[in-house]
């Protein structure tokens, strides 16, 4: 007689399970599959096939009947949602999918579909240096990173070559060079500011930001089916050219081609299963989003890449006799020291010169001033510092104060306005214990999973940093001869940067951290956390590239440890 129970369990057993299909989950899947492991990727949202499921990609404005506005019907159950435009509505998350409690105002931007936020990111990829990794030790906050730049250097190169990075070799110690293909041009207004900085602030460098776009596709990218960027600048609708890096265009189809990958959409992870007898994790408990039934999948190796806050939620909800407060959480620090980036400061200014010059085409990237505050020593009244994004051009301009024939002529024949130059701060938030997430003791979502309480706030250090950005940016605009300068504090809530990090931080000591230098939970070595949750500090670079490098490195280690029989 067939043993249906055993057969069923066997059919749900893999060599590895990856929770989440975003940038880091996609990398985990690719690396595990490349190394021959039968891998199950669990995605809580719907399937998104590259190209096929980008309904609004490459459509001009007139294809949208409401020219960008969402309908009353679409707004229902979407009060908290982002991506609320007609072009990007297909990524907007309904409120009832995962309600959460904002103990303090927090903007939690989620990408719950195959590919996650790798379809929606700003595609900026700046490396960390030791000035970042050594931050907590030097300035006395959080805990010391157990890794340094040399540990990640080759892995940065490894993921950059596959993802494809456009940029220049700038030779800056604070922003180590990437493996690059040609960068996008800087506009002459950006170069104007660059020249002015060279004269007035020699320690501030305005470079072309490095970004995950193909400007000169190599054979490895052609193998992925990707091609050169066409400067459409509608990236967050999905790119039919696969010109920017996303899980959907790159790592997931690559993993599928190995024959080792199974991707299961509509799989809302409830918890990681810990076997008290075996003393290790044995699988993942999933609620099927359509049938609502509970299903268990098994594997000796588990990667948690559910995005920072949801990774925290899953681990907090992974309770067992051994770990009553959440998986690996003996020290009670799981969910604590949540941090993010300070994007509150924004600026803009006009320039009245260079009237005979303009730009042509569209720039999918921008310029970048790497951190210059407290870089080699403390030189301000606050800790750490900020990078600055810079982008500029000339917009066509029409006088619309009139109506009738004159209005028509003005609209059909716009004039070029002054050069403008926008800037935005990207500040490092110093993690503090009081900024945390925890599970609500009673409230659950529609899957029966406890709701997450998010309790995060700005600190005095953040306030000082915003004021410094406002003063410094204003000064930089003024010294370069800009007019109509306005640099302000938007007072946006934490989370607006979409760079939430921490809660499962990396460290040397199991008493003060959750994962070790290989991203393994100290107390449950066959579970790896390689998304933003593992971040001990945040520095101020866009973090995704670092997650990707950490993930590839962690998979390499995991597979070696499996071979040695250590996990």
């Amino acid at each position: 007689m067939p043993d249906h129970q055993t057969d069923s369990a066997t059919s749900r057993t893999y060599d590895a399970i990856v929770i989440g299909s975003g940038a880091s989950g996609g990398w985990a899947a690719k690396e595990l599959c490349d190394k021959g492991l039968k891998t199950l990727v669990l995605e809580r949202g719907r399937e998104v096939q590259h190209i096929r499921d980008y309904p609004n990609a490459s459509k001009p404005p007139w294809f949208f009947p409401h020219r960008g506005t969402v309908t009353v019907e679409e707004k229902k159950n979407h009060a908290q949602s982002r991506f609320m435009t007609e072009e990007t509505y297909n990524w907007a998350l309904p409120d009832d999918e995962q309600p959460f409690i904002q103990e303090k105002p927090f903007r939690w931007v989620r990408g719950y579909h195959m590919g996650g936020k790798s379809l929606l990111w700003a595609r900026q990829t700046q490396r960390w240096s030791d000035l970042d990794f050594e931050g907590p030790a030097r300035d006395g906050f959080a805990v010391d990173w157990p890794i340094r730049y040399k540990d990640l250097q080759t892995w940065y190169s490894y993921v950059e070559r596959f993802a494809g990075i456009a940029g220049n070799r700038d030779g800056l110690p604070e922003l180590p060079d990437s493996e690059v293909m040609p960068g996008f041009e800087q506009s002459c207004i950006e170069l104007h500011l660059k020249d002015s900085l060279r004269e007035h602030f020699p320690d501030r460098h305005l470079i072309q930001a490095r970004c995950a776009h193909l400007t000169d596709p190599q054979p490895i990218h052609v193998q992925q089916g990707r091609s050169k960027c066409q400067n459409q600048t509608m990236c967050n609708r999905g790119c039919i050219f696969g010109a920017y890096f996303s899980s959907n265009a790159s790592t997931l189809p690559w993993a599928m081609k190995t024959g080792n990958c199974t991707i299961r959409p509509w799989s809302v992870v409830h918890s990681v299963i810990f076997d008290d007898v075996k003393g290790k994790a044995t699988g993942v408990r999933v609620i099927d989003a359509t049938s609502k039934e509970t299903i268990e999948f098994h594997a000796p190796l588990i990667f948690v890449n559910a995005s920072t806050l949801n990774t925290n939620a899953i681990l907090l909800n992974s309770k067992s006799r051994r770990f009553p407060a959440g998986l690996g959480n003996d020290n009670g620090l799981l969910g604590k020291f949540i941090s993010w980036h300070n994007y509150r400061g924004k600026g803009g200014a006009e320039f009245e010169g260079l009237t005979d010059r303009t730009t042509d085409g569209r720039n999918p990237s921008n310029s970048y001033i790497p951190r210059f505050r407290n870089l080699f020593r403390r030189d301000t009244n606050f800790l750490r510092g900020y990078a600055i994004g810079i982008g500029g051009g000339r917009s066509p301009w029409s006088d619309t104060s009139v109506t009738g024939d004159r209005l028509r002529e003005n609209l059909l024949h716009p004039r070029l306005g002054n050069w403008y130059l926008s800037s935005w701060m990207m500040g490092e938030c110093v993690p503090v214990e009081s900024n945390h997430v925890r599970l609500h003791p009673a409230l659950t979502d529609k899957y029966g999973i406890p709701q997450l309480i998010v309790s995060c706030d700005w600190s005095e250090n953040d306030e000082k940093m915003v004021q410094d950005y406002i003063a410094q940016m204003t000064d930089m605009y003024e010294k370069a001869g800009f007019v109509n300068i306005h640099v302000t504090d938007t007072h946006s809530p934490p989370g607006s940067d979409i760079h939430e990090m921490g809660g499962v931080r990396m460290g040397w000591d199991p008493k003060t951290s959750l994962v070790n230098r290989w991203n393994q939970l100290h107390l449950c070595k066959n579970v790896f956390v390689t998304d933003g949750a593992c971040m001990t500090s945040t520095s101020c670079q866009n973090p995704t590239l670092t997650y990707m490098a950490l993930t590839a490195r962690a998979v390499d280690h995991a597979v070696e440890e499996r071979k040695k029989g250590n996990i």
Binding site: S58, P60, N231, T359, P364, T403, G404, L407, L412, H413
Partner: protein
């Protein structure tokens, strides 16, 4: 409005639509045309007159707002994207505005009206007429040099090479 009324109005509206000059019909396109309008024929005519007054066609075949379907866009926008109270407010003003004999003069009064609702109505009509016009295929491709995929970005070119 129930569906039956909507269908009846569509039929009426279609009757009016066929009588438009051919060049105007030819330019209309896409989903916007098949939209079951929630506006009465009279309201539709007033709306058309308003957008035509805000951006009229030019003497040398330059498109105006009507030619690029801005009135249809406005109907779709207001029907689908406005809360019922806001939609009703628009319709009240459509009744209040006097299309004949000179809609431009009527709009001019609205544009400086002390009545908040009239002023807001005018501002809405103008703002959305400009948006509909500037995002239309004809204006974007024939006049604004829009390219869906430029394939390049040059950061420093002489102004003249733009045209």
């Amino acid at each position: 409005m129930n569906r039956r009324d909507a269908v009846i109005q569509l039929a009426v509206a279609s009757g009016a639509w066929i009588s438009l000059p051919f060049w105007m019909v030819a330019c209309r396109m896409s989903d916007t045309d098949r939209h079951l309008s929630g506006f009465s024929p009279h309201e539709q005519q007033t709306l058309a007159a308003i957008v035509d007054a805000i951006i009229p066609a030019g003497p040398h075949h330059e498109p105006g707002a009507l030619a690029v379907g801005v009135d249809k866009y406005l109907q779709k926008l207001i029907d689908d994207c406005f809360e019922p109270a806001a939609r009703d407010g628009v319709k009240r003003q459509l009744q209040a505005v006097q299309p004949a004999p000179d809609i431009a003069a009527s709009l001019q009064r609205f544009s400086v009206s002390a009545d908040k609702d009239q002023k807001e109505f005018f501002d809405l009509m103008k703002r959305e007429t400009i948006r509909g016009f500037n995002t239309s295929q004809q204006v974007m491709t024939d006049y604004l040099h829009y390219k869906i995929a430029p394939g390049h970005y040059y950061g420093n070119v002489p102004v003249k090479s733009q045209a």
